[in-house]
Symmetry: D5
Subunit: 156 residues, 10 copies
Amino acid sequence: MKDNFEMPETMTKEDVTAMILSAKKQAGLTWEEIATKIDMSPVWTHSAAMGMNAMPAEKAKALVSVMGLPQEAASVLEESPTKVWEQAVPTDPCIYRLYEIVGVYGPTIKALIHEKFGDGIMSAIDFDMQITRVEHPKGDRVKIEMSGKYLGYNSW
Amino acid sequence: MKDNFEMPETMTKEDVTAMILSAKKQAGLTWEEIATKIDMSPVWTHSAAMGMNAMPAEKAKALVSVMGLPQEAASVLEESPTKVWEQAVPTDPCIYRLYEIVGVYGPTIKALIHEKFGDGIMSAIDFDMQITRVEHPKGDRVKIEMSGKYLGYNSW
Amino acid sequence: MKDNFEMPETMTKEDVTAMILSAKKQAGLTWEEIATKIDMSPVWTHSAAMGMNAMPAEKAKALVSVMGLPQEAASVLEESPTKVWEQAVPTDPCIYRLYEIVGVYGPTIKALIHEKFGDGIMSAIDFDMQITRVEHPKGDRVKIEMSGKYLGYNSW
Amino acid sequence: MKDNFEMPETMTKEDVTAMILSAKKQAGLTWEEIATKIDMSPVWTHSAAMGMNAMPAEKAKALVSVMGLPQEAASVLEESPTKVWEQAVPTDPCIYRLYEIVGVYGPTIKALIHEKFGDGIMSAIDFDMQITRVEHPKGDRVKIEMSGKYLGYNSW
Amino acid sequence: MKDNFEMPETMTKEDVTAMILSAKKQAGLTWEEIATKIDMSPVWTHSAAMGMNAMPAEKAKALVSVMGLPQEAASVLEESPTKVWEQAVPTDPCIYRLYEIVGVYGPTIKALIHEKFGDGIMSAIDFDMQITRVEHPKGDRVKIEMSGKYLGYNSW
Amino acid sequence: MKDNFEMPETMTKEDVTAMILSAKKQAGLTWEEIATKIDMSPVWTHSAAMGMNAMPAEKAKALVSVMGLPQEAASVLEESPTKVWEQAVPTDPCIYRLYEIVGVYGPTIKALIHEKFGDGIMSAIDFDMQITRVEHPKGDRVKIEMSGKYLGYNSW
Amino acid sequence: MKDNFEMPETMTKEDVTAMILSAKKQAGLTWEEIATKIDMSPVWTHSAAMGMNAMPAEKAKALVSVMGLPQEAASVLEESPTKVWEQAVPTDPCIYRLYEIVGVYGPTIKALIHEKFGDGIMSAIDFDMQITRVEHPKGDRVKIEMSGKYLGYNSW
Amino acid sequence: MKDNFEMPETMTKEDVTAMILSAKKQAGLTWEEIATKIDMSPVWTHSAAMGMNAMPAEKAKALVSVMGLPQEAASVLEESPTKVWEQAVPTDPCIYRLYEIVGVYGPTIKALIHEKFGDGIMSAIDFDMQITRVEHPKGDRVKIEMSGKYLGYNSW
Amino acid sequence: MKDNFEMPETMTKEDVTAMILSAKKQAGLTWEEIATKIDMSPVWTHSAAMGMNAMPAEKAKALVSVMGLPQEAASVLEESPTKVWEQAVPTDPCIYRLYEIVGVYGPTIKALIHEKFGDGIMSAIDFDMQITRVEHPKGDRVKIEMSGKYLGYNSW
Amino acid sequence: MKDNFEMPETMTKEDVTAMILSAKKQAGLTWEEIATKIDMSPVWTHSAAMGMNAMPAEKAKALVSVMGLPQEAASVLEESPTKVWEQAVPTDPCIYRLYEIVGVYGPTIKALIHEKFGDGIMSAIDFDMQITRVEHPKGDRVKIEMSGKYLGYNSW
């Protein structure tokens, strides 16, 4: 459309995500297997592959090699992402249930953090998470473990 | 204002919450201590005290006795709540960080649930949660553990 | 547009939906007839064809064969969907009326579930639905039957 | 506050709802029992008691008598309500699941109504609903049956 | 973009609307003239041409012939539309004034329908409308006449 | 609450509306009858009584006399109202249907006004409306007639 | 994309706006100069060039000739626009300040119009505007003059 | 409600606005007359009386004296207001028309400010406004004149 | 209203804010002076007085003593606040300008933080701020200095 | 798509931003280095490169030369931008923290500006900003310094 001047072509995080998803399907790998190959957790690996977290250089290189991506993809995986999510109220039932938990239990989590630590918050930046399947006779359960650094408010 | 007919007076969940908070302050109890006295977890105890969960009859009676509430309060604690939370995007920083985690990691949790279980969700109803303080040399950490039953989609 | 690197091409649920709709028009089939051919209900069949439900492998294969779709479409039909719907308030009158019913009768359904079962909900996951035409002298009626598993809240 | 002129005092639908809820608690009645006493369905009875539907004169009189309400309440129950519901996206999990069903299955219901009837809708006005508990070995189920008159679009 | 599998090409209501608008401009016809040629009202004809109403088969055929559209367009005109409109608050002044009238006079129309008919509504489905220019010495006036079937609420 | 200085007490349009509704109920009058007594249309009379239109002095006096309101009410009825309506998307079904009509037919009304008059709008200020019940063998119909002055856009 | 049937190509108001902006840049003209050449005000000329006002036939022809546009552009400039603006709260600081003025001074303008004219409004249709630069020792000032016909509310 | 500790009572801007409106009605004064008595413009006087602008000390004293307000009111009139307005899209037609003008002509005003001054804005702080009635044979017109200091963007 | 059971009375942060504002006015103190008396910064002091930050015990005691508040106020000042702010888009011009700065310069601040530190954020919890008046020949300037700890994202 | 008439091709601010980002990556420059080369601050340089500020002619020329952009880019960099930002509540955590600071400390900044200057605001137009990294034993800190001209409200 704009042929009177030349526009540069830049590989984006969306492009790299699409390449990873396609290579994963081709290779028949799970996220768990990919994470093991680059020696990181599945949660962080998926999140960085989706473009929601930046990768340290050696992990980016490892993923590029494991998935057979073009070299340029490594530098894109290292870039700081702009984290954008679509909707205030998510519509997908699997994600909505998490949002509902925050709505119902948010004030409870806040009260107990204040009780155990003082006036402050759990960091969402210095943060990690694990997801596991727990067997149970009445139906298996999803277990989500979050860990974030406590940050106390400043007085000055 | 309406004195030409007599309006009934009913104790609400908000009334009971206010009574509990006042009695707690008076007695100098923590949520952890209250929870221990009725032999339940602090998360569930706080949430039910806030009117966001219904109490089984014996737990309601126990709480009324522990906190010195009027007898009528027990039946109010047993009522099914209408769970209302204020805002699509919470403003309190402590609660907002949880919301941000759902925004950033929601699709990741969804992908790993599908990988580990199949097409389905983690229930927010058949659900429980624990919050603990974990000591750490670079600053203590908040640990949140959630467990919910896996529910698979029906085909029919 | 991005010709300095090669982007993968992946068939999406939207692509498969478009193929099904086109094949259906070509073949002059109704949803009822398609559902019968794969031995499932019309509600579930349409919903899965729209990409709002995942198909078990054998049903995906059956649909691909019935509609003459490419082989790759079967694996796409088996994928867990991300369920996205467009608007808080739907504008189409046929869908809006359902939304209005939830608005008007939602608290009533909630009250009667609590009365009949206790504190809990009707699952929207372990769920099925039938739609039928009922003859009536003053004008035929639409009958919608929903059935969902009762899930009681946890205390812990 | 306004004592230099006299303001009239009028019983509202909210007042009558509060009186009914209080009398119901006092008498220990269920909605099912109240509905039986006035010979109507529990869904409609609850909805009208909540002020979301108008009552025919004889049913209003019956309810006033059954619940021991003041005479003026009958005429209030007969008034046409202004149906207001609180939020585009309901937060209570029990009601939200219904909203989710409309989001996920709305286009499916629309497609099947058009297939079975032609271009039109299911009326939410000439409408009725039943809720029942269905026993099931893997956990009892909630059954919701809706029936609404089909209305075809006009051409002119 | 997707050249490793073949996507079907389907004529949509938007395509047919664009064809009609182009043919109308080419032929120099008014909506009034087009409506006369297919023996329907201008309001309904425009609305159906915009894809907001479905056409009966003979009217679709007539329009296709009058405007010189491809044969496939007739079946598209017969399809049940999904009625989508853009914004809660329309910005175009001509449409906004209608919205303002509903805001200002909505409760009045409701009160007078209840007074004249009982508890019910004016149908927007079994509905028709006429627009005419009325000469007036102080400036001509727009006259809009709407007629919709009264639907009374059910008790059950 | 503020007893260290004296606040003035002013009758508001809301106060007058409440007085009119109460007097109307007391007297058993319809809006049609009230309108006839002050020699105006029912639409305008209801709208002005709701505080959505200002009354000319003689009509305000007439209404005060007909309904037995305090003298001060007349000057309040004459005040220019600030027209506030509650929600972008009205929830009451009777009002929502009007809103839906504007959504579905708004662009059609705009197109036909432009065709009949040129570039301009129908005024919502120099405007009047009538509502009537029209008998019909298949069910009576609501008829709404709106008339507004055509206003053409300026060029300068 | 749709090569099995031929879609018409129509010049839109957006196309003409783009052509005017390009020709203006090429010719190094200001809006003031363009307005002078077609003997209209700069405000109206810019607004019509942006597609927010329709042009009378002779002005459209004049603009087409002055800017060297294709003949078809004249009929597009004459079409009644659908006025769409992007956001309830504009983000551009220059436009936001105008919005802020309406928020802060809106009730004041309303009060003074009612005081000077009676119950009515300033028309935004029979309306014109001038923008001028006024020299001032402490910094030049922007002067905006608006003039709109007073429209009084109808009683009927 | 809170009788176990004593709450202070403070006169607010809302209180002073109510006192001014009541005194104005009592005295039968117009805004124009009040403005003349304190030697300021009607626009600014009304805006400050509504609590949307702070008054210099001598003007606050003058207004208190002219309207017979309590002494404390003067210091309240001098306080910096928090300017709050109710809605993104105003519903009152008189105010909405101003909002519509900003929507339709905002980009035009921006373009002409940039053409006449450079990259910058018209200040809404160093700002004044006049409203006058202009006689006109086809109906009198409202004239609004705004003047704001031009502020150019910084480079650094 | 609820006289059949006794409700506790608790001093809230809103109550304490009102007491401080009243005592400040009475004593004729500035925020700068109050801050000096408790040996903290004016920004933090005002924010804690508004109930948006918790006070360490000794500072709470100092403020209670300086302002002559009741003893109970100290424990309220120490409580962890729930930080609630009113609107997505603030209407007060003084606050809006800050919001506009975040809108315009947010991506720039993000880019420079990433350039200087890596992938992470500036903490809003371990955070402080100073506001000063800087004299300037062309008009004095407001200087705002913010300092927040850099928090780097975790990989795990 | 529109091949029956020729559309002009214009370089936009988005195009220039993309060219700068690509050239920056190619050359391995930081924003700090680019800013130094054109002798401006990094904040302003990034903001203008993003299209959120206009560049004076000599700076535009300098940037075009430093980055090796086509000549036409200079005039685009000089154009007044329309500043559009995406969301009321930003989702990226780095930007959200700034938004949260405005929410929490906005009223405090307002109170202290009024205390130090009188009734007015800090300009966001006659404004500049610096971002620096400050070393700190407990973790380095981000320092943001803003400076804006004080603008006092007018009385007239």
